[in-house]
């Protein structure tokens, strides 16, 4: 109890300094949590676009981005006929721009595609999807920012399209996208095949056999399960690495703040530490007080950071432009990792101050201070 009091007493003695230090860790934790959660949400959403109603994704091997993948239509037709395959849907991804929007994602899909089937149709009908010339279905947010509605024509890229419906999906990317029949998309993007084929197997256990058959028959293609794709797709890897790097830099800055606080804490009470030594406190106990202080700061910062991060995520979710992009649920594992990282940062920040405190010689500190 007194040991804890010794830890808290000094933190409470310099409340503003302690608060600034806690705030430093809290902002770092919040930044890490927000960036990682948003990016994980984005990655999850992108994965769900690919895997909508499917288990496997087939795309061109060694492409740096799925937008550059080209899967021939003949391959799709062949694969769709394999006995183990229940459904094979070709999807073409394209990116265009309009006057006010530099990036609009286009999805070239067939009428039977799960995205079209499962969406909530705010206007129009799936039955009309491929019944007119240059038809498009707009995601709810795309309709909003393009200022378009059913029955109107809308300029997308260098073409003019007829809006036959507006849909709402649970996915931010899809809600901000434009859906067009596969043939329309192939014509528009000058592509004969598709970007990917999404595969639903009759029996999930045939996954390995399916991948092996793809490898044998189409060596320039690759088939991956959803989770494999998320792990291996280089764009996702870059995004995740960036998120952790940004968060790590934030925590490193927070750690420097803790180090500064702890150095000041030790320097301003050299005499007190000397008194503790004279009263029998061992090196480990002195270091324990210093590390205890930094752990309290780091823990308080981590808790504050989680709260701040949650508030930031809820705020981001309410931003209209980000509707559907932000997943506010913070994964418990991420929370645990962030708390552990904050504690490690605190401990790292206290290493030098603790070593300094252990070297204090009572006879000098008591004589001259």
């Amino acid at each position: 109890m007194i040991f804890l009091r010794l830890i808290l007493v000094n933190l409470l003695r310099h409340k503003i300094r302690t608060f600034i230090s806690i705030a430093g860790i809290a902002f770092s934790v919040a930044a890490m949590l927000t960036v990682v959660t948003v990016l994980q949400g984005a990655v999850g959403m992108f994965s769900s676009i690919l895997s909508s109603g499917a288990e496997l994704i087939v795309f061109e091997r060694n492409v740096s981005d799925l937008f550059f993948s080209d899967v021939p239509t003949t391959a799709k037709n062949d694969i769709a006929g394999w006995p183990m395959v229940s459904h094979a849907d070709a999807v073409l991804f394209g990116v265009v721009s309009s006057a006010d929007h530099p990036i609009i994602t286009c999805f070239g899909v067939t009428v039977g595609d799960a995205r079209i089937r499962n969406a909530t149709w705010l206007s129009g009908s799936a039955a009309d999807f491929d019944k007119s010339r240059n038809p498009v279905v707009l995601g709810e947010r795309a309709a909003d920012f393009l200022g378009a509605s059913s029955g109107k024509d809308v300029p997308i890229g260098h073409g003019m399209f007829h809006v036959i419906g507006v849909i709402r999906t649970r996915n931010g990317f899809e809600d901000g996208g434009v859906f067009m029949p596969l043939e329309t998309a192939q014509r528009f993007f000058h592509k004969e095949g598709s970007s990917v084929i999404t595969i639903k197997l009759r029996n999930k256990e045939d996954s390995a056999a399916f991948k092996a058959q793809i490898h044998r028959q189409y060596p320039n293609l690759i088939a991956l399960e959803d989770a494999e794709f998320s792990r291996s797709y280089s764009q996702f890897k870059i995004l995740k690495a960036t998120a952790w790097a940004v968060g790590g830099c934030g925590l490193a800055l927070g750690g420097l703040g803790v180090a500064n606080t702890m150095i000041m804490s030790v320097f301003t009470r050299i005499r007190e530490i000397a008194i503790l030594r004279v009263n029998g406190f061992a090196n480990g106990q002195i270091a324990g007080i210093v590390f205890g202080e930094s752990a309290v700061v780091a823990l308080a910062g981590a808790i504050g950071g989680i709260a701040l991060g949650a508030i930031a995520l809820y705020a981001l979710k309410e931003v209209p432009a980000l509707h559907g992009y932000v997943d506010v649920s913070i994964h418990p594992l991420l929370m645990f990792i962030v708390v552990v990282l904050a504690l490690l940062t605190g401990i790292a920040g206290a290493l030098y101050p603790a070593a300094y405190a252990m070297r204090i010689k009572p006879v000098e500190a008591l004589r001259f201070e």
Partner: protein
């Protein structure tokens, strides 16, 4: 080397043999061949002008510093690297300084319990000991008070309680009444002597006050880093 007859048969607890201490590679000589013996239960006053080496000698005996030359032996074992100094500080030595050296944000009780916490003593045992010491020093009603709320005399009595918390065999007091007024000084000194006597503690006290020193069993006069007279 004089010693009062009543302690002739009691064990030797402190022995400083040819102890030298200098700083700045010998440029500043503080102790010049000190020889000192103290027996269990003795109260010894170290007198002498400022800078004569009283505090330095106490620091060497208390293990806070090492002699440049010579040996300090406490309870039959020489102080130095081979000795468990943490155990020594916790269980064998108690310090009282001129400036009480208490932690201001803690209460009197918490300050006194510090040595017990360091030594890992049980809470009940430590509290019983503290209650006993607080009663004997008249501080029972001050236990929960912060140090800032205590008078100078109360602070020094608190420092004495803290020093005796772990029942050390030796109490080193460096000008314990130096910052107190005459009346308080006499009261604190009397308390210190009484406690040392009843606890059977060997007291080694540096002081300028010869009238207080006269109440001790022995008075050592120091000058220029040497013990001149032992009476």
């Amino acid at each position: 080397m004089m010693m009062s007859a009543q302690f002739a048969e009691t064990p030797l607890v402190i022995q400083a043999a040819e102890v030298w201490k200098s700083y700045e590679r010998g440029a500043i000589a503080v102790l010049n061949g000190i020889y000192l013996e103290a027996r269990k239960g003795e109260a010894i006053a170290l007198c002498g002008p400022s800078g004569c080496g009283k505090s330095t000698l106490l620091h060497l005996i208390g293990g806070l510093d090492q002699p440049t030359k010579g040996t300090v032996t406490v309870n039959g074992k020489a102080l130095g690297r081979s000795r468990d100094m943490v155990h020594f500080m916790r269980h064998e030595i108690g310090f009282v300084f001129q400036l009480h050296n208490l932690i201001p944000d803690l209460t009197m009780e918490e300050n006194c319990l510090l040595p017990a916490v360091a030594a890992g003593r049980g809470r009940n045992e430590a509290m019983n000991r503290l209650q006993d010491l607080a009663e004997r020093t008249g501080l029972t009603n001050r236990l929960k008070h912060r140090i800032q709320k205590l008078s100078g005399g109360e602070r020094q009595r608190t420092a004495i309680c803290r020093a005796l918390m772990n029942r050390p065999g030796i109490l080193l007091a460096d000008e314990p009444t130096g910052s107190l007024d005459e009346k308080t000084s006499a009261a604190v000194f009397k308390l210190l002597l009484d406690l040392a006597h009843t606890e059977g503690v060997t007291l080694l006290m540096a002081t300028h006050d010869r009238s207080l020193a006269a109440a001790c069993d022995r008075v050592l006069e120091m000058h220029d880093g040497r013990i001149r007279t032992d009476s």
